[in-house]
Amino acid sequence: MQPTSHDFKSNARTALADRQLQEALSGIPGGLVAQRRAARDRLPEFDDLRDYGRDLRNHALQHLDIYLERYEQAVTEAGGHVHWASTGGDACAAILRICQGAGAQLVTKGKSMVSEEIGLNANLEKAGLEVVETDLGEYILQIRHETPSHIIAPAIHLTQGQVEADFRREHSQLPKDRRLIDPAELVDEARQILREKFLNADVGITGANFLIAETGSSIIVTNEGNGDLTQSLAKVHIVITSVDKVVPTFNDAAALLRLLARSATGQEITSYTTFSTGPRRAGDPDGPEQYHVILLDNGRSELLGTEFREVLRCIRCGACMNHCPVYNAVGGHAYGWVYPGPIGAVLNPGMIGIKEAGNLPNASTFCGRCESVCPMHIPLPKLMRHWREREFLEGETPFVTRLALKSWATLARQPWAYHALSRLMSRAMKFASGRHGAFTWMPFASGWTGGRNFPAPQGKTFQELWAAREKQAARTGRTQ
């Protein structure tokens, strides 16, 4: 996927003016927020569990090399194959080799953000394979030639009306006058069309929410059941996942599963949680004959050694974006690469570089909601600040911003000058605002005054008011 993160500002402007997008965004993330809260209220020990989850992920990362080797050994013993891939290109090449080795023509796919990261579909299609996304949201995006705008609700930016139009255009073999008013009718239509794909697929590709070192199992967490059809009907099951997903034991996965769905959709657990270990066994009447796992690095092993290590604890629930005021305003596509929202603002610069994605850590008010809901306690604002520091150090911060920051820093280090200047400014602004007490236009602040008035200071600075207040309190003997 060609990143457009460097264009965040203009992406955001376009998104804010997009009526359909704004309609789609108006209710759904807010609904997920309320559902998460309800689920948390039903599990009083939720916050203790978050601490437990954070500690166990830290332990897993601290021993990552050992758990990965242990995991690989267990997969191999169960008859599966592990393929290590340093880059997205290597991962795509490994998957293509497996598909070609199996003489595959049709590939079905469950939802996988790592596959988006490596641009898998385009790669397989270039080699002549038919690739079909089977998660309903992903299927809709595939026929629209779009990418996910949310990591667990990929089509959250679309309205029902848009999906209806897409189905009428894409499924032109069906009667033109068919009813497609209810979401259930749209779901049913996709179900019928994808059934045939499931049954004829040669290879099924899924992602993995977790990998278990103890048994060599990969886990997928779904509601639709598409991942299970994808992996149990094809001859070959390929898991595309990344090196950070491994946890030591089944019991560790259980602790994380208690947090995942509740944080994501507010469900106690999803309809389906599936553990896969190797290919079908002797005597099994169904299941894949081959089982392959692609372990992608793509910069994660390096992030592990930096101040960004904590981001690798992420279990991809999406709570940070559901709770983010910036995400809620502009949607996921504005972020310009695979991972949107606060998690994307921290991950993307690590994967595609500061030059491309340096804007994303700036797209935050540091309100801290993301960190407060993160089940893994990832200090997202702190990590975004680290990227801002790096951006500054690497000279990627725009000249005007640097100049402004530098001037402010110089001033702030000289309190007498700061006070004198703010006194002057405050009085000048009061004078200039006249009897309105507010500005309808200000130089360098048209972004603010374009939508609302800017209230003018009333002549005294905060320090002056504070000093007066202290004096008054001393006189009356009250501290209030």
């Binding site: 759904i28 599990l43 020990e45 569990l49 437990y52 332990h59 021993h63 990552l64 090399d65 050992i66 080797e69 194959h81 592990v82 393929h83 290590w84 891939a85 290597d90 080799r97 309903l136 949201g137 609700a153 309205t159 999906v163 979401p183 779901v187 179900r191 994808l194 059934r195 499931f198 199992s217 509601n223 639709e224 059941g225 299970d228 149990s232 090196v243 030591p248 034991t249 089944f250 019991n251 602790a255 959709t265 106690e268 657990i269 309809s271 949680t273 599936t274 553990f275 896969s276 270990t277 190797g278 079908r280 066994r281 099994d284 009447p285 169904d286 299941g287 992030l303 592990l304 050694g305």
Partner: protein
């Protein structure tokens, strides 16, 4: 195929980058021991209060949680009641009296000929199957989840291709937590305790991908019946 067919050195390169990032060396016995210790000890998070408090009625909790996930829950005392219970459910949902199940001994013992016109078949699911019948090896009270192990006894496709999925849950195997169910799995009499697929099922297939509204019956079953069996 060899176990590792990655680009030359990818495995070593990734592992060595990880070690460098961690400031660790390759054969550090203390680190290996810490990891092995966790895999052997399998520590558990504290069990959710809803199932950990003394006197918790696990069966009631299991039923309640599963119903919240929009599954239908029935109870029978013995196997002889099951065919009629299933027939009643299929009838109520306008479904044909047809189902398929695996080689599981309990399921195989059910006498569907006691219901007139009931057709049954064995093996993996076929595209036109309307109902699949499986046996869970455990029910998990904390979330109303059923745990199924794939194999000849319970072909995995029976739970996903047919429109209706019916699961028999042994009343004696309702456990409190996920970890308890995994413990039962580890006790299975088999060389490798892990089946190819372990399915944790909690409700019918659903999606909210169109306009955020929940629709039941996305790709998998449109309806799910859990039958708690008293004699299993």
């Amino acid at each position: 195929m060899k176990p590792t067919n990655s680009p030359a050195g990818a495995r070593e390169s990734i592992l060595s980058k990880i070690r460098t990032s961690l400031g660790a060396s390759e054969n550090d016995d203390a680190r290996t021991a810490a990891a092995e210790q966790r895999i052997t000890a399998k520590p558990r998070a504290a069990a959710p209060l809803r199932v950990a408090e003394t006197g918790t009625d696990l069966l009631a909790r299991f039923k309640d949680e599963l119903q919240r996930q929009l599954a239908t829950v029935a109870e029978v005392a013995t196997a002889t009641e099951i065919p009629a219970a299933i027939a009643g459910y299929l009838h109520a949902n306008n479904q044909p009296l047809r189902l398929r199940h695996g080689a599981d001994a309990y399921l195989s013992s059910l006498d569907f000929s006691s219901v007139e016109g009931f057709e049954t078949a064995r093996g993996a699911a076929a595209p036109d199957d309307s109902a699949g019948l499986s046996a869970a090896f455990a029910g998990i009270a904390e979330t109303g989840t059923m745990a199924l192990a794939s194999g000849p006894d319970n072909p995995v496709t029976l739970g996903y291709l047919p429109d209706t999925h019916i699961i028999i849950v042994p009343k004696t195997r309702i456990v409190a937590t996920f970890e308890d169910a995994f413990e039962l799995l580890r006790e299975r009499p088999s060389a490798n305790p892990m089946p190819r697929t372990l399915n944790l099922i909690t409700g019918p297939s659903r999606t909210a991908d169109i306009g955020g509204r929940i629709v039941i019956g996305a790709h998998g079953p449109r309806r799910l019946l859990a039958i708690l069996a008293g004699d299993l």
